[in-house]
Amino acid sequence: MLKNKTISERRDYWSIPPIDVYKIFGTSEQGLSQQEAQQRLKTYGHNLLPRQAFSGVQVLLRQFKNPIFTILIACAVVAGFFAELEQSIAILSMIALSVVLGFYNEYRAEKTVDNLRKSVSLKAVVKRDGKQSEIDSSLLVPGDIVKVYVGDIVPSDMRIVECNSLEVNEATFTGESFPVEKTKETINIQHPTPQQLTNYLFMGTVVEHGSGLGVVFSTGKNTELGSISKSLTRSHPETEFQRGVKKYGNMLITLTAALAIGIFSLNAIIGRPLIDALLFALAVAVGLVPELMPAIVTISLSQGASKMAKVKVIVKRLVSIEDFGNMDILYTDKTGTLTDGKIVLKDYYSLEESKDPRILSYALLCNAAVIGDKVTGNPIDAAIWEYALKNSEQKSLDAYTKVEEIPFDYQRRMMSVVVRKGEDLIFITKGAPESIIPKCKYVDLIERSGSVSDALDSINTKFFNLSQQGYRILAIAYRKMEEKKIYTIEDENDLTFLGFLIFTDPPKEGACQAIEKLKRMGVAVKILTGDNELVARKICEDLKIPVKRVVSGSDLAQMSATEFQELVEETTIFARITPEQKLDVIKALKKNGHVIGYMGDGVNDAPALYEADVGISVDTAVDVSKDAADIVLLEKDLGILANGIEEGRKIFGNTMKYILMGTSSNFGNMFSAAAASVFLPFLPMLPMQILFMNLLYDVANMTLPTDNVDEEYTQWPKKWDIGFVRKFTLFFGPFSSLYDFLTYGIMLFIFGAVTLEKAPLFQSGWFVESFWTEVLVIFVIRTRRIPFLTSRPGKWLTILTLSCIAFGTILPFTLLGSFLGFTALPTDYWVLLILMVLTYLLLVDAGKVFFYKICKF
């Protein structure tokens, strides 16, 4: 019986001959017995990948991961404790609104992605008790002998013991577009990379050509794919936006606690009743907290997600939208994201670079693709046919009749056919240039055929140059033949070199424009690929991505942590790197203060997608990659990215408006309330009045997510800068305090509200002034331009804000006003108030010009 230890610890089956692999796994060419297989299934479990099940509860729980909620809940509890039930309910309602909205949007997005998942179960052809049968791949166990054919998805990790022209597409694992040749031979490398493991088959890869037989050595979570899936079940790393909110939350807690303690102490010292002092301090503390922030953020994000859904972008995690807008580096995998992930024939030409039509005709004749409704078979042969059909160049074949075919094999690395054209018999060979060139004796030049020895240097140089440009190259050669009974590989000699076929994995349509647009938006595009350096360079050249530096995975492995930290900044391409190295690159850049986006669709991209601030995948990506992503593009159009980024920036812009305005004006008002409480014989505003004003202010801000954002704001990525928020609060807060103090002066010395009996007049005057300045300043602060003239606020923001102003203005004259302790204000006051508020708004605008001149954001 095979032990667990063997499975989990031993992985070097690449260096062991097939016969010994059978022995290690207690199996044979006849396969396991059914009984043994059942036993092993009990021991090792089903061959299924670990993945986080889609759970509504989890989506709900993650809505509470917001530090502002902690402050708000604390405020609600304390308010409730001091019988301020209305305020307590209001705060809890704000929290509930944010949670419900966030849950609804994220649940819907998760559900959509879950539905995208293919529910088809994979089948595997397995040999047990000497009989071959098809079983559900989840029932595979270590030691099973599995047969794979063209088109099969490899059902588990296997050591190849037999193979026949086996080629596997491992793009999803390694990022390499071209299929990889597989072998059963042992490999004598101590620490091979996945690309070097040519006698392994990895779960999730696709058989492109030939067939093979393998011994299963790992199943389920023990496979390479499984270990990647397993790493994604840990909790999601904090995004840049979440880190910013956390810092902001900490700043608020410090400020609130300091003010509350200070106010309580001062009021207690001057002899106010302790309970009044405490209630007032509490009201000031609650007044400082922008309780609507979570709701504003969630409404903004939900609206953004809806807009993005219309352009077929699914947002799985709402919080990622803001980082989507703020990312300054977008790392992308190459295959399937920048390129189509499909091989195409780019061109063909002779040694003299003339487009000899015989090259294509001969390549079509010497071809194993199957032509039906669709072209199928070996991807390289299929690419030749697709090229010909697209350019209607297959008609030239009518003059030829196929006589004989010598199939491709990996020893020769070429295939040959014999065709008849009229009286002539032509022997055509197509294959790897390094195999064909030595078989050539002549070269077909324009008017004559020369000796190959003369042209050998030119052929090799051309081949080398094309390879250096990242192309996959095949050579075509031919010879005239006499009629024979049997044609063999011995005839693949004395050939005449005709030309090259040049293959590539082309960039996606529109990718170049999309990258250019991203560049203009301040997003640097860089490549992390498992593919080789040359191919990555070529794609950068095609997409006009300036390459500063290229680093390979093996170079990375030899670097110190400091070197690595510096190198990541200036490197454009990381080639031949493993999923773990991709993760390291992203972590290092995050540490350097960047907001990182990562776009990929393969298994090897999943850890990076998970770690990045914004993980972007496509609907055709493997499940594990879609699971790890925050955003899924339903269309492979990179242009959508730019729209998403713009949307993210608008949302961030409106969120920051609320935070900046809310914090600074709240700070100003509460600061002046605290100061006034010391020198006035009564409270400058009753706790209930403060809380009501706060609530009214929040209502006015409810439509802030619909506000227009100035174009220049979305042109460049922004970042949470808590230092900037602090400076803004420090600078703009006192403006509001100043006019509060002025109002105190007016109420005390012009309207004589100095006695306890006249306290309601004082409080009403300050309430209206405070509310006007707090709300109207939104129109000044929301833009860096001239308010209304060069930057129009959103329609709904204007309507709701002005309605709230109207309500706040008439409030002292109403029954509700009387209930809250207000009284009617004299006419003279309104004249002074209008003048005062106008001066205030102009002064803030002048201050804004000064502030933005010296503080960049």
Partner: protein, 113 residues
Amino acid sequence: MIEFNLFTWWAVAITFGIIFLILVSIYLYLDSRKKRREGLQNRTGASKFLIEFVFVWVLLSLLILYIVSIDLVSATLFAAGNIIVEVFLLIYLIKNRGQKSEQSRQLQIDNSS
């Protein structure tokens, strides 16, 4: 007597508010200069300083206006003073926006290059 005390308190509070704002402005200004690693003397000639701190001078004027008009209990002086300051600020802002647009354009060009 209590009114005198209250007025003193009030005058001290509003003066403190304005001084605090001026100090914050100077701090932010010096901080930004330090970050740009520019010599103060190169950029802050007397006229430049006067222009860049216009709103600070306005604040000081307002402080005098507010203290005097409230001390005299004169709503008329208060209103007239406010109107004069508003006109001045409007002129300043219109003139300053022109320069600001130029700067924004320059910043955009810098970014794109």
